[in-house]
């Protein structure tokens, strides 16, 4: 027997016991909880039924939690016409209602920045708290910012638990059951697109959107990060995101990047297009363009 670094002696029996325990532990982790995208179908089904039961009890409404999978041959992209947006914030509030964001403390996935026309897109000079009686204000333009659904997403790389990842259709999602609330992803995101539930989220009684998706707008607990999912509960069923449908000036466009006849492809091929913070090589799938 050789003494270890602290002078203690490890017997053959002790070593064998420890090794056996470690091996058993390693095997047992395979039976324990798993991330949602790793769950076998029957266990996901059970987990979803359990969620629906819990939310119905909590909110007094019948909630459906979908696990609609990505559609084949689809990669979502978004385009926003900066020359049309008037900064009315209809999108912000439609998003809050569609995606069950907390009203108090306030969580909003879309933030609209007011900028001066002479200065261009400059976030250091931008004001998200503008509140004039009417918009658009003279000499200003508006840049709404939400999750840019990056192809090279910095947020998913830093997650220590693997609770956030990019789906095959390009949507960056969060598994609220695996998020430990470390907020590394918020620090990594250059667009401020991720939001943390500092308090218990509140949705007014009867106001819960009961059509939910397991990786999207299902009710969140306190202490997890959430973000725009391109309305995964709508878009995987072929519908437009809520912000697209509500925009009164039609500045928001959405579609399949792999479909050459889609609206976003027409925009990318025919309009002046830019992405935010291009120099960071995040490769956003959220494009800004000038429609005029």
């Amino acid at each position: 027997m050789k003494p270890d670094s602290r002078g203690r002696k490890l017997s053959r029996r002790q070593f064998a016991s420890c090794a056996a325990a470690a091996a058993a532990g390693f095997l047992l982790t395979g039976c324990g909880p798993r991330r949602l995208h790793e769950l076998p179908p029957d266990r996901l089904e059970d987990a979803i039924r359990e969620m629906e039961r819990r939310y119905a009890q909590q909110y007094g409404q019948t909630v459906t939690v979908s696990d609609a999978q990505p559609l084949a041959g689809v990669e979502f992209a978004y385009a926003l016409d900066i020359s049309r947006c008037i900064g009315c914030r209809r999108c912000v509030h439609a998003c809050v209602e569609e995606n069950n964001q907390s009203r108090d403390p306030e969580v909003q996935w879309i933030r609209v920045f007011e900028m001066e026309k002479g200065k261009g897109v400059d976030f250091s000079e931008a004001d998200p708290y503008y509140a004039p009686p009417e918009v658009p204000e003279e000499g200003h333009f508006y840049v709404p910012v939400q999750c840019q659904q990056c192809r090279n997403a910095p947020c998913t790389k830093v997650c220590p638990t693997g609770a956030t990842w990019t789906e095959p259709d390009g949507i960056v999602v969060v598994d609220y059951d695996w998020c430990i609330g470390c907020r590394y992803c918020m620090a990594a995101c250059p667009y401020g697109a991720r939001h943390f539930n500092w308090g218990q989220p509140t949705v007014p009684k009867g106001k819960l959107n009961t059509k939910t998706h397991v990786l999207g707008n299902r009710p969140r607990p306190q202490g997890v990060v959430e973000k725009c999912t391109f309305c995964i509960q709508r878009t995987r069923n072929g519908r437009y995101p809520a912000c697209v449908e509500v925009c009164p000036v039609g500045a928001r466009k959405f579609g399949n990047l792999l479909d050459p006849d889609s609206e976003v492809r027409y925009i990318i091929e025919h309009k002046r297009v830019l992405v935010l913070k291009e120099e960071l090589n995040t490769l956003p799938k959220f494009f800004y363009f000038y429609g005029t």
Partner: protein
């Protein structure tokens, strides 16, 4: 009664309509048909129904018509991969005053509060 095509102050009818749409060069009967008032007509004189008014608008705003046909100008609702609901030009733009009117914004986000502020 003969058709009066002259530009004038309307005193009896349509007094609520204010024309702010290239008003130096346009007058009612440039778009509305004098003989069939339930129709519009193109510059060529060809009649156009109100349901196809985009053809009339597209005479001047050709690049908007092109973008609208591609689904890029104007609002769409429905399915991104299926049935879409289109709106006509006049659903959003008042043809007599096409510029969008300013509207009140929805509430601003609350500013973060810090102790001492």
């Amino acid at each position: 009664m003969p058709v009066n095509r002259a530009r004038r102050d309307l005193t009896e009818f349509h007094t609520d309509i204010v024309l702010k749409h290239d008003e130096q060069h346009r007058w009612c009967l440039d778009c509305h048909d004098a003989d069939r008032r339930d129709q519009l007509h193109l510059a060529s004189g060809a009649p156009v129904s109100f349901e196809e008014s985009y053809m009339l608008c597209g005479q001047c705003h050709g690049e908007k018509l092109r973008d609208w046909r591609a689904g890029v100008h104007g609002r769409r609702t429905g399915q991104w991969n299926g049935h879409k609901t289109y709106l006509l030009c006049a659903h959003c733009h008042n043809p007599h005053q096409p510029r969008f009117r300013a509207i009140p914004p929805m509430p601003a986000p609350v500013r973060p509060s810090r102790p001492g502020l």
